[in-house]
Symmetry: C2
Subunit: 661 residues, 2 copies
């Protein structure tokens, strides 16, 4: 939730290949290489924007070719597609949207000034610069001294400010949140409470300062999570376990193409989204053809509102992807901890504020999971004279990224299964944001403190996590329909049998986007995306089903509250919209200080036709988090997610014909 | 769903130890040994019931000592407790409830004739005997001939008949469902539709026969799931993966006591419930004391109603545990398929109809899961001059059983985590029950056929699965309370900040059982079981939280429908009742042909006080199943479950002090 200041990563390591493996095979969806990023940014820096003293890059990414062109390329018409980049830069107080034709000598084909509401992401470098300001700001120095602390043990971080009804376009602002390290690395558990520091990012100066109240800084003891800092008695141990693959790995990565069992997909990385899976297709055993499932899928937004309305907390309503960049917050992954020892690790890179590529080593990992479960099984005891037991051990392929947004860590998985299922997993861990309080015991608390006392003087503040996925499903082709198959109780009236009721299925095909807004659990139903033009031999429309695996919370904020206006799509878990290349970010392209005029719910209001069209499914995994003491000083993973499961996509269960090892 | 006829297991292997390992250490909750079963049944056979010509054992199990006695024993006062057995036997058309004092020379201390509604489980042996009757029943022979089939390729199975409003106590009846094997072992996909065969079990004769209509038997091609029967093209392959533990296993099993990391529990087996976990306690790192979490937990019932109201299908509303015995349907587990290669396997046994012990080899497995996930992790980039990354690989201990109720297989897991969590997992697999139909294509279907066409002439019938768990939680002691912590939106009115809303938590402690009936999702809430007499140092009540991991379906049958009256508890996922030793089976002790007068919902109507009492949590994992073609000829696992997660049980996250390997 908290912003991420300049990572102390080995940024000097500008690898030639970034998120690329051994092969240089070209694919139109490949992310920009470090050298492409360098060249593009150099071009812009020497363009008409050269005169700007404040040119800063806020987004540099692939402007993916139009979908028909990619699909044509994919289907074999491999004429080289024009490679383009999309850049958001700030110069002299203005936001520029630039398109660069990489294939055409990196020419700038367009430069448009964006004059709507909202700003691009707050860069890591300006967060760091802003965070340094208080240390030369006399009132802050005084505040620190007043609390009996030393400046050198204080760390400040930039927090986005949101939008709370301000009328005209304002300044690019952040608040600084300050913490005390001292004898711990777990600074988030030791907030310097009561201080508000407002920074104008373009001017890079403190524009408002307030020290409203002094609250004791929670003690450092018991907050450090490093193994080296633990003292006996140590916790319970387990014996180590390692997966070995006697015949080697079952997957290959060629350029950005990952092949495993019956799956092939393109794996990319984006500074905003993190992992992007494209052109995922699954092989049909019968004729070995690949059938499309997902044109493109990625995390679109993470909305994390806190539930404390006080002066220092009310604005903490973060949009991690749009405001900070979820991809660039990828943590370098550790073998044996974040991923199995034999996982394949991949680097990623993004453009720094100055346009130079920044490499994140081991930003992704890919591994095969052998969790010890069967993928199917049956024992047959009913046939005289024989017992049959048959089944297969399950295996799956996992693509993982961990996004660390200052205090919180999100372990994000794409898990591909031979059954044709894709499981999307979110595990939240890291440090819960806490508020310093005077209370050392629950009995001292007499009013709503908006949290749980998780340690002395430490209130774990109530909050939510809404992780919204963009899923451009192309089930066996681009034109799909969304079907809400409702289970309806039928009353038996004919008296033919003594049974009085049963349920049956009434499939409601969504005609327009209004039909594509679904609050899960409001009525029993299966949610399906089908291809109305493709049927199995039996005549069922081929499709995929969405199945929630828990974490289905939706927002409880009132509709007219400003954070809710910005995240108005979080009142329903599922939305279906007509495909539009520009609609990828659920809270809008310019999320920082956005006003909700360009988000998923607004697009859906256009009420476009979505039947037998290229459609996009948006699904939000939601957690209400009431912290508990076990979340302190760092929380055990808490998991949620969903499954995209073939539903009459295959003629029969594709697992049956797998030979046992 | 379908009943299980006589398993062709090596029943001659009457092991001396059954579900017991190396040690003979006594525990008052140990299941009856084979020799105990033999002796008990011999005693009864030579008692006043000796004259009965039809003495049959329907349940022989431990009559567990009273809870205070077990807790006293557990706490160190290890005076040997009287060991008793509870037996349900049928003799001369009557149901006897017998208590046997094993410690006192196996004396019968009580024999009561049960004269209420409902019957004990239908025994495997009588299912087999009933299933053989049609082959000497001329009208059936004629029906088979009329369909062009040979008798030798037909298999019949006993199906419970339920209760549909019959006024007086009736006969013990089953319907027989018949199938065609021929060139497949997947008989369930080839129903001999249109025939109804009613059998009186006590008379062991066919009492009604009807051949209503001839429906084509679906073809055998494509239904066999055995590897040896698959033909090219074969399915996609993966590379094998094996977990190795270089330092050996991390758990021990001593008698029935399983110890792993910070967990200790008693592992038992019951013919009706399957796995029983008792006295599960988790160790406190601080002072190495064990704190109780679960006194006793097991599957209480599985209700599986089908949604076809026709003459041959309306009664298919199965209660797998009560009508068939979920434990005795345990499948022998296969290493490398059902469980990892290095799992520890355990046998189980139950009393056959004749009172002789029947052994199920490898009925349970215990293994450590290393799925490749972190149990917690964090990267810290915000402290100048340092990057910190810390975390631990997750490991857990899994106890697994697979219950195979004829066509369906339920992979049932208890997963213990070092964090203190217990995850309960249900994976459904096996064969979907299908109805033969004349249709070979969806376009031929003109009315509601109550299912999905999953193969030619094969309708996968709509149905539900409701797996209800009995969870006698003892959170740090026996007296607990249930708290429904509701999230309520608060409208900000003081205008102190521009924020207009937030949510807060209103904990509602259930006073009586009426407060302990919860439909999940009806409002946002955390469901907690707390110990109102134990608080953390900070003053929070120690507790556990229940978190659903999907599969939260509730019954859609109308309240006055007979199957729903019997399973009236399936309209809500969660119930809390006052502890009562006799209330263990959610659909009543006598489930076969039960009338709903002795089930969980009825007990709850007593509205006993449940605040600061010994309470029992009942939770139902529910699936609505609309079959799809991928479920044919055998379905990929579909998972649901829930987590019991510490919630202010520990002073802080117990994982932090675990040393890395």
């Amino acid at each position: 939730m908290l912003p991420m200041a300049l990572p102390n990563l080995p940024t000097l390591l500008l690898f030639l290949f970034c998120l690329s493996r051994s092969s240089a095979r070209y694919h139109p969806l490949d992310p920009l290489t470090p050298s492409e990023i360098s060249t593009i940014c150099r071009t812009i820096k020497s363009s008409h924007l050269a005169s700007s003293k404040s040119l800063a890059f806020h987004y540099v990414g692939l402007d993916e070719p139009d979908k028909p062109d990619v699909l044509a390329w994919q289907s074999g018409r491999r004429a080289a597609l024009h490679r383009r980049a999309f850049v958001i830069a700030r110069a002299d107080g203005q936001t520029h949207e630039l398109y660069i034709d990489i294939s055409n000598n990196n020419s700038i084909t367009s430069d448009k000034i964006y004059d709507g509401f909202g700003y691009p992401r707050v860069n890591v470098e300006e967060q760091a610069a802003a965070s340094a300001l208080p240390f030369n700001h006399t009132p802050f120095v005084e505040s620190v001294r007043k609390r009996g602390l030393e400046l050198k043990e204080v760390v400040c971080l930039a927090s986005t400010v949101g939008w709370f009804g301000e009328g005209r376009q304002g300044r690019r602002l952040v608040n600084l949140l300050c913490f005390v390290t001292g004898d711990t690395v777990n600074l988030y558990t030791r907030p310097l409470e009561g201080v508000t520091i407002l920074v104008d990012l373009d001017a890079m100066e403190i524009v408002a300062y307030k020290d409203r109240k002094v609250v004791p800084v929670p003690k450092a003891a018991g907050t450090d999570y490093r193994a080296s800092k633990q003292e006996p008695p140590f916790g319970p141990q387990t014996k180590p376990g390692v997966v070995v693959q006697p015949q080697g790995k079952g997957f290959t990565i060629d350029g950005h193409i990952v092949s495993w069992s019956n799956w092939v997909f393109h794996l990319s990385f984006d500074a905003r989204a993190g992992v992007i899976i494209s052109l995922a297709s699954v092989q049909e055993t019968e004729n070995w053809t690949h059938r499309s499932v997902l044109y493109r899928g990625h995390v679109s937004e993470l909305f994390v509102p806190y539930m404390n309305p006080s002066e220092e907390w009310y604005y903490r309503t973060f949009f991690d992807a749009g405001e900070y960049g979820f991809g660039l917050c990828a943590s370098p992954l550790e073998p044996m901890m974040d991923c199995p020892a034999d996982a394949t690790f991949m680097d990623a890179c993004y453009a720094g504020q100055d346009g130079k590529p920044v490499v994140i080593p081991n930003a992704l990992c890919v591994f095969e999971r052998y969790a010890g479960d069967p993928s199917w099984r049956h024992s047959e005891f009913e046939i005289p004279g024989k017992v049959v037991t048959e089944g297969r051990a399950d295996a799956s392929l996992v693509v993982r990224m961990v996004g660390t947004i200052a205090n919180y860590d999100y372990v994000m998985d794409w898990e591909f299964k031979i059954s044709g299922s894709i499981k999307l997993g979110v595990q939240t861990t890291g440090v819960v944001q806490v508020k310093a309080t005077p209370y050392a015991h629950v009995d001292q608390i007499t009013e709503d403190e908006h949290g749980t006392l998780v340690a002395e003087n430490t209130m774990g503040v109530y909050h939510d996590h809404y992780i919204t996925y963009y899923l451009d499903l192309d089930i066996d082709g681009s034109n799909n329909s969304f079907v809400n198959s409702k289970l309806k109780t039928v009353r038996v009236t004919d008296g033919g049998t003594p049974r009085k009721s049963y349920w049956t299925v009434v499939g409601e095909t969504a005609k327009t986007e209004a039909d594509g807004r679904v609050a899960l659990g409001s009525e029993p139903a299966y949610q399906l995306v089908v291809n109305p033009n493709k049927r199995t031999k039996l005549g069922n429309n081929v499709g995929y089903r969405l199945i929630s695996n828990g974490a289905t919370a939706t927002s409880l904020l009132s509709d007219d509250d400003y954070p809710q206006i910005r995240a108005s799509y979080t009142k329903k878990q599922l939305w279906v919209t007509a495909y539009n290349k520009s609609e990828r970010w659920a809270a809008g392209l310019y999320t920082d200080q956005s006003r909700g005029d360009d988000n998923l719910a607004v697009w859906s209001q256009r009420n476009r036709v979505i039947e037998d069209r290229d459609i996009v499914l948006w699904y939000t995994v939601g957690f209400h988090h009431i912290p508990c003491q076990e979340d302190f000083p760092l929380m055990p993973t808490l998991a949620g997610g969903f499954e995209l499961r073939p539903y009459n996509f295959f003629e029969s269960n594709p697992l049956i014909k797998i030979r046992p090892h």
